[in-house]
């Protein structure tokens, strides 16, 4: 490990609390991560010193706020290695970014008979926008399935993506299975058929190095709050030529060129897609999160999360009453682990774990078609971030064993 975990932990005061009289083990990072002090300070500094509306004032604060906002855009640009900061559009979050692509690019480019290809492991926010677009346009929505090992079935991808395919939309990392999908290979496939590829990076950015040029994705969406930034801010990366050709997503202030009584022209990218007053503080906080992550090093972060999964996954699979969904090989895993205890509903498990101080998620994780495919209605999910510790893994395993015992005996 290339960073000092105690230093890291001192940056996350929320983690050093007790819940239900137990040490907190926060293992719900896939739902939302925690923010370090540095991000909170950036938010506060912005409001204390620089707050003003951006791109519309000539006064000093407006200038500073604009610099802060555009500075954050450049940080994000370098973080994901976009060619230009104009390719970084600030959104409310990943869901908003994906809806933008479906509503703007999709609306303009999909026709009856076209195909949209997604995978069975998509989060609802990378599924419903395409499903509804396909319905509106009388296009066909096709799914890439899974292999027996819980990986994306690339042989199926090669069959499903055809010359009729116009959009391929696949998650970079699954929020349930913990798999990382070969987005780069999918991009090659999509481009061979002249389709565009949309990557859902919600569970990837902040957990592994992401280089949008290397991946050669056309669009890539992610949320600030899952990468230690604030809620309510996210990013859509898009290749400039595509973004320029797309119609606006929303209309209003800031996104215009000229407005006349009967017609208007649009601002250049990225502003064309940022109608109305934006979440400037959120963007500033996201910039601070990027600085923080880069300070630790994305390779180090990925290595640390893998180390935690390597420690906990075999112990989980070794419990005879536990089923782990997705790959069983830690090297093929992000920090996301979905599992169930035999004869126990994950809600009961999550309540019991909460009593032991372990915060996990239980439910369908906004991935109902995947749940159906796995033959379950819900799962428990523990998800790790770089600030989690071996103690957290021990606490999880201990709490699972005690939960099993509690429900075996009905009482403790």
């Amino acid at each position: 490990m290339a960073f000092n975990i105690n230093d890291v932990l001192s940056d996350f005061p929320i983690l050093s609390q007790r819940v239900n009289d137990e040490r907190l083990a926060y293992l719900d990072n896939a739902a939302t991560a925690q923010r370090p002090r540095q991000v909170l300070a950036a938010l506060q500094d912005f409001y204390i010193h620089d707050n003003a509306n951006v791109h519309r004032g000539v006064h000093t604060l407006a200038e500073r706020a604009t610099e802060d906002y555009e500075g954050a855009r450049v940080k994000v640009q370098h973080f994901i290695n976009a060619r230009s900061s104009a390719e970084v559009i600030f959104t409310k979050g990943c869901t908003d970014a994906l809806n933008l692509v479906a509503a703007s690019y999709g609306e303009a480019n999909i026709q009856a008979g076209d195909e949209i290809v997604i995978s069975i492991m998509e989060h609802h926010s990378n599924l419903i926008p395409w499903q509804q677009l396909a319905r509106r346009k009388h296009a066909t929505l096709k799914y890439i399935g899974l292999t027996a090992q819980g990986q994306l079935d690339m042989a199926a991808a090669r069959r499903q993506i055809t010359d009729r395919t116009k959009i391929v939309a696949v998650t970079h990392a699954s929020n349930v299975l913990g798999t990382v999908n070969p987005l780069k290979e999918l991009a090659v496939l999509a481009h061979q058929h002249k389709a565009v590829i949309v990557g859902d990076g919600a569970q990837a950015v902040g957990h592994m190095p992401v280089d949008v040029q290397d991946l050669d994705v056309d669009f890539y969406a992610f949320s600030g709050h899952k990468m230690m930034g604030p809620m309510g801010i996210g990013v859509l990366y898009g290749k400039a030529a595509l973004l320029r050709a797309m119609p606006p997503y929303q209309y209003g202030g800031e996104m215009i060129g000229d407005v006349h009584r009967d017609d208007s022209t649009w601002a250049d990218i990225p502003f064309k897609f940022e109608a109305g007053t934006q979440n400037v503080a959120g963007a500033v906080g996201l910039g601070a999160a990027v600085d923080y992550l880069q300070g630790l090093g994305m390779d180090n972060i990925q290595a640390r999360e893998r180390e935690l999964v390597t420690a906990v996954l075999p112990r989980l699979t070794a419990l005879p009453y536990v089923t782990v969904y997705g790959p069983q090989d830690p090297r093929q895993h992000t920090g996301v682990l979905a599992f169930n205890l035999a004869h126990l509903h994950p809600h009961d498990v999550a309540t019991a774990l909460d009593m032991e101080g372990v915060a996990i998620r239980a439910g369908h994780h906004c991935a109902q078609p995947l749940m159906e495919k796995l033959g379950v209605t819900a799962t428990a999910r523990a998800s790790f971030a770089f600030y989690n510790t071996r103690e957290d893994t021990d606490q999880l395993i201990r709490a699972i064993k005690e939960t099993k015992e509690f429900f075996n005996r009905g009482t403790i």
């Binding site: 239900n20 126990l344 809600h347 009593m355 032991e356 369908h364 209605t377 509690f406 009482t411 403790i412």
Partner: protein, 153 residues
């Protein structure tokens, strides 16, 4: 604290109802049916009721879900079977009120039978919906117009 606090929620009678549910299955015919989902967790209850002369002659449920939702459905069906629809709706109201912390008279609570033990759910706010799902399904089944489609909310 650990798991000892769970004893308050997972009382023996609740675990009994969950592992040996009463009235689980399908009725050959039903006058009122309702399927309800809890969209946040995927719990489902499908309720069938046979009403004659304003009385619940028979009631059964199928569905999937956590211990609390299954136990609650079992207790609910046991509590309302044979009751008039008016009495059953009053019980559903008592239960819903109770789950959001409103006080009720001893005699109202006694009407609920085993189901009153689920008041302990109030200490676990995240789980209140699990307990109320079955009672909402009952309300909707009894109150809906006979030709209304099952709802999927």
């Amino acid at each position: 604290m650990g798991l000892s606090k769970l004893n308050g929620l997972y009382r023996e009678v609740i675990l009994d109802h969950a592992s040996h549910p009463h009235n689980k299955g399908k009725l050959p015919t039903a006058t009122n049916t309702m399927t309800l989902h809890n969209p946040t967790c995927g719990d489902t209850i499908n309720l069938q009721v046979n009403v004659a002369d304003h009385r619940i002659k028979d009631i059964a449920f199928t569905g999937e879900g956590c211990t609390i939702s299954q136990a609650s459905a079992s207790m609910m069906t046991a509590a309302v079977k044979g009751k008039t629809t008016t009495a059953a709706l009053a019980m559903a109201k008592t239960f819903s009120d109770m789950a959001i912390g409103q006080q009720h008279s001893r005699s109202d609570l006694d009407q609920l039978g085993d189901a009153q033990v689920l008041t302990s759910i109030m200490e676990f706010p995240a789980r209140i919906k699990c307990a109320t799902l079955a009672w909402w399904a009952l309300q909707r089944a009894l109150l809906k117009d006979s030709d209304e489609e099952d709802d999927n909310e």
